[in-house]
């Protein structure tokens, strides 16, 4: 019994070592990407968000830190576009490159597809977290530049949800990458989905007044709203009359709901992507 346990222990450690070797290899392979995208994220933030306030004397500053962050976070705004670009660039070729280049399989020929798939995913996601962390730190620094103390502690919650949201996008991109032929087609599809697709899906429940909890563009709203210090007391929807009909417009999901749906999406897309990757011949 004890021997069995020891064997199992050794096996787990052996497997984890293999996955960590793939992670290390992938990060080493993508190290230029990390530098390029970090510089891109910082320089774009400084040029687009900070510079106008510093260089153009009469440009009005958002009255509060909350609005300052919002400027960078609203739908189709700067950060959303950066998120889309960086996420898509990093993950679009993650799996389909294995079909053409067989990078990881050539280096680790005896390693299972499971380890390659998740090793590569974790490595690229760590790269993404690194880039986003740098971005959020720069955001907090410039928020201090304009508003001084205190920096909203809610920025940490927003960052957490932002990472979770990125995980979903990364999972979807990986899923697409596992059956699409080229990274370009994955890029175009994921951009199309985010720019138009998710909103089209949103239209039906919005007209019915139902909470579109499954919609990614709706779930994304919580990253914005959670920044507000009185988040828990904010109304989640507004009601208005159109003629004699009372309509309801949902603003953002509950924290529990968002966490649940985002986690669920991540797991589903990652697993389906893995199944497709496993069944396909390399």
């Amino acid at each position: 019994m004890r021997k069995n346990n020891r064997n199992m222990h050794a096996k787990i450690i052996y497997n984890l070592r293999k996955i960590s070797a793939i992670i290390k290899f992938e990060i080493h392979l993508q190290k230029k990407k990390i530098i390029y995208f970090s510089i891109l994220a910082i320089s774009m933030y400084v040029v687009i968000v900070v510079m106008p306030y510093v260089l153009i004397p009469n440009t009005s500053l958002p009255p509060t830190q909350y609005e300052f962050y919002q400027l960078n976070r609203g739908y189709m705004s700067y950060i959303y576009l950066v998120l889309l670009l960086i996420n898509s660039f990093v993950f679009s070729g993650i799996i389909n490159s294995e079909y053409t280049q067989k990078t990881a399989l050539n280096i680790f020929p005896l390693v299972s597809k499971f380890k390659i798939y998740f090793g590569k995913f974790i490595a690229n996601f760590l790269i993404l977290i690194g880039i986003y962390t740098i971005h959020y730190l720069v955001m907090a620094l410039f928020s201090y530049y304009f508003y001084g103390e205190p920096i909203f502690y809610t920025l940490i919650f927003s960052f957490g949800l932002f990472i979770l949201y990125s995980l979903v996008l990364a999972s979807i991109t990986t899923f697409l990458s596992s059956f699409m032929a080229s990274p370009i087609s994955v890029l175009i599809t994921i951009m199309g989905l985010i720019l138009i697709g998710f909103d089209l899906i949103n239209l039906i429940p919005t007209s019915l007044g139902l909470e579109p909890i499954y919609s990614l563009s709706y779930l994304d709203n919580i990253i914005n709203y959670i920044l507000y210090p009185n988040f828990s007391s904010l109304p989640r929807y507004i009601e208005y009359y159109e003629g004699s009909d009372l309509l309801r417009r949902w603003l953002f999901p509950s924290l529990g709901g968002a966490l649940f749906v985002l986690s669920l999406y991540s797991i589903i897309f990652l697993l389906v992507g893995f199944i497709l990757f496993k069944r396909r011949d390399l």
């Binding site: 390029y36 891109l40 774009m44 040029v47 687009i48 106008p52 306030y53 153009i56 004397p57 009469n58 440009t59 009005s60 500053l61 958002p62 009255p63 509060t64 830190q65 705004s77 700067y78 576009l81 950066v82 670009l85 620094l141 410039f142 201090y144 530049y145 304009f146 508003y147 001084g148 103390e149 205190p150 909203f152 210090p229």
Partner: protein, 321 residues
């Protein structure tokens, strides 16, 4: 070749996003001898020194700094914060707006509201004090002096203040204000309501302005020089960036108010006749702290980069040898 194409694509994307996101409204100030150099951003005022005993024997035993600067300004290390976020491009302010601002700030909003209800409303001010004050307005959020960390959201949101574009507006306002105080102080309805306004000489008027946040136009040395020549000041002196008030409490004392290049109050120093500091307020600018952080990070990264390169070169040389 491939790398070049990739770089090209990234540069194009970068510029598309830059163009897509530049949505800031650019507003230009009108031409004038003076310009507003006030900047968006935050300034923290901190009480750095307070000698209570000297205050009592020099200024007044029944008063303390809170009578001037409110909040916890009588406590050392107490801080106040102001975040300026919008400078209006308008430069003509009617008398109603200016009086509303002045009286609400000096006597409280309730006093102005009573005046308004007793006939001193928009029509009254515009009819009796026609024309405009040439001034820029700016908006700010304000945290009064306190020893606790600042709240996330200020209690005083969207406050407004003015910068007189020309010092002559100050003298016009002084005359109009004193005229209005005579009217109010002789109004029987307002006497019955126990409402009165203080008639002031130029020095006292400027003092009230200064302790409530008097912002100067730029260049401030010229602005102060012109203000100095405009009126025969009895209790005020002007230097390049300072207004010095010679005041009398139990004994004589001096209040020096220095202004930064943006025209904002930077330091307040209260001194007795022996030049001993009784009370002092200094300014802290978060942006300077950010500059220090950026310089430190860039320097450390550069040093690390140079050191890594140096050791790698050394290692390669050793391998070759």
């Amino acid at each position: 070749m491939k790398l070049g194409k990739k770089k090209g694509k990234i540069s194009i994307l970068f510029f598309i996003i830059v163009l897509y996101n530049i949505n800031s409204t650019i507003i230009f100030a009108c031409g004038s001898e003076y310009t507003k150099s006030i900047e968006n951003g935050t300034q923290i005022l901190e009480v750095s020194r307070y000698d209570e005993q000297s205050w009592i024997v020099t200024i007044n035993s029944s008063s303390n700094p809170t009578n001037w600067f409110r909040g916890d300004s009588d406590k050392v290390k107490a801080q106040s914060k102001i975040t300026i976020y919008l400078c209006d491009y308008r430069d003509e302010i009617n008398s109603y707006e200016i009086f509303k601002w002045l009286i609400s700030k000096w006597y409280g909003e309730s006093v102005f509201s009573i005046l308004n209800n007793n006939g001193y409303n928009y029509s009254y001010f515009v009819a009796n004090y026609p024309g405009y004050y040439i001034a820029w307005s700016y908006y700010y959020n304000f945290w009064p002096f306190g020893t606790e960390p600042f709240n996330n959201i200020s209690d005083y949101l969207s406050e407004r203040s003015y910068i007189f574009k020309d010092p002559s507006s100050f003298t016009k306002l002084l005359a109009d204000y004193n005229n209005f105080t005579h009217v109010v102080n002789n109004d029987l309805n307002l006497i019955a309501l126990n409402i009165s306004l203080d008639t002031m000489d130029a020095s006292e008027f400027l003092w009230r302005f200064a302790i409530n946040g008097f912002t100067l136009a730029s260049p401030i040395s010229n602005y102060l020089a012109e203000l100095s020549n405009m009126i025969e000041w009895t209790k005020v002196q002007f230097t390049e960036n300072k207004i010095i008030f010679n005041r009398t409490g139990i004994t004589s004392y001096i209040v020096e108010m220095s202004y930064n290049s943006n025209g904002n109050l930077e330091t307040v120093t209260v001194k007795d006749t022996d030049n001993e500091i009784i009370y002092e307020i200094i300014s802290i600018y978060p942006k300077i702290i950010v500059y220090i952080i950026i310089v430190s990070v860039v320097t450390s990264v550069s040093i690390i980069f140079i050191m890594i390169n140096f050791f790698l070169k050394k290692k390669r040389l050793r391998e070759i040898a």
